[in-house]
Symmetry: C2
Subunit: 271 residues, 2 copies
């Protein structure tokens, strides 16, 4: 199928294509309005520590769903089989990236716990609809991300700096962005900082640690959100014997419309 | 009665004391949690223009209540008689301040329309409860206010710059303050600017146009709200034949608890 047909697929169809190996590319822009998530899979005791790490650090690690040990399903997010439903995975052993497979069925263990973590892409649509330019999107670049001097609250073997993403905009837009994003706690919520980057330990805003260099215009104020690279960096630093994550840009596509994520995943649901 | 007894009076008792001429001082800190409001009284055609001016500029001029022509009552705010219930008034003729009486019964006309306008003091309690230091309060000073290069939308004879109040605080508090204050549209709502004062035409943040010089600490970012001096400045500039306002610090004390203002004054009420 062509790229154009893929881009109008609904998330169930997209996951079916991914499962069959017919869709391999980055997931941004595909699956309609469906929430896309970061994926972390850890076995045994490391999974227990990581769950506590996410609970202690909800802004960088907003949990959308946690799987039962050994179960590759995440039923609250859709009819998902995590062994096949991402287009590309990363496998880490002792903190080293050892392979990037398109399928992890061979690696699956009965003590594996899956974590779907929210992503800031889920609020960018709301910013755009509010008339706030999302500059890296308009430039066709990846969002710039930075390690900061803000520390996560540690849990078990997991600790490390808060990593932030940055979007520069006029001050009046920054005020609107706070109002908008505080409605999306499952997509990292409100910004954690704005203004002077050195106040959070960023030496040069034009040299991000991850992603692409930013587009900052005269009169802009930089706005910083907690970012999903935070848990990834914590995992790499903790050097667990085995960890599986999504490959950058190759996210878990859920069935939840972005705008409904918080209500459907955290509210009381009809029985 | 002593100052101490006055400070625990409920708003009805406080207005009774004011009406009898037994309470003369500034109203800040008195009347418990009751919403305090700016007052503007204009006759005839000027009142019509001013109502449209407030409708067009809701952030600087958030209307709590508008009286019927000739009626000194504001029944949605309490059992109020505006001819007696403020401790000090200002009378303006052709744009000049001509007297500061404690009672305006002699001046009352049957075409006078009263406007009760919200005040930012109503959200300062929420900021303090959120752990955000309100620096001018802690310093025992009046809030600094500045004329900006932001223009109000004109209506009839009323126009002029948006005047802002400024509270400096760490960036993380500024983010919280946006979230908090956007819940108080009747107390000016969310800030209108933050960061560089020159972007809104303020030449020297340490030299406000009204109020007292600010307390700004290293690491603070200045945050600016639309301010109730905006309509007052517009009235002075328009030079209406007659206008009556509250004297600075001598506000209309209502019966509405601050935290309930928006719900009780703008929501649908039981019949």
């Amino acid at each position: 199928m062509t790229e154009l047909t893929n881009s109008i697929l609904d998330p169930k169809n997209l996951r079916a294509q991914i499962r069959d190996g017919r869709f391999l590319g980055p997931t941004a822009g595909h699956g309609g309005d469906a929430l896309q998530a970061n994926l972390v899979i850890l076995p045994g005791e490391d999974a227990q520590d990581f769950l506590r790490f996410c609970q202690a650090n909800p802004q960088p690690c907003p949990l959308l769903a946690v799987g039962e040990p050994g179960n590759p399903a995440l039923p609250t997010l859709g009819d998902i089989d995590l062994r096949h439903d991402l287009p590309l995975y990363r496998v880490w052993r002792d903190g080293e990236l050892v392979e990037e497979p398109i399928d992890i069925a061979d690696l699956w263990r009965d003590d594996m716990v899956s974590f779907a973590i929210g992503c800031s892409f889920s609020f960018e649509d709301a910013l755009t609809r509010a008339g706030i330019p999302v500059r890296h999107q308009l430039a066709g670049r990846n969002v710039p991300m930075y390690r900061t001097n803000l520390a996560t609250r540690p849990a078990g073997k997991f600790s490390g700096p808060v990593v932030v993403s940055m979007r520069a905009m006029p001050a009046a837009d920054a005020i609107q962005a706070v109002s908008i994003c505080q409605r999306f706690p499952l997509a990292h919520g409100a910004p954690v900082h704005l203004g002077d980057p050195s106040q959070i330990g960023i030496a040069d805003i034009h040299q991000p640690d991850y992603g692409d260099a930013p587009d900052i215009r005269p009169g802009d104020i930089p706005v910083f959100w907690a970012c999903g690279v935070t848990p990834q960096a914590a995992i790499v630093a903790a050097k667990p014997a085995l960890a599986i994550t999504h490959a950058p840009g190759h996210m878990l596509v859920t069935d939840i419309p972005s705008g409904q994520a918080d209500r459907r995943l955290t509210g009381v649901h009809a029985g």
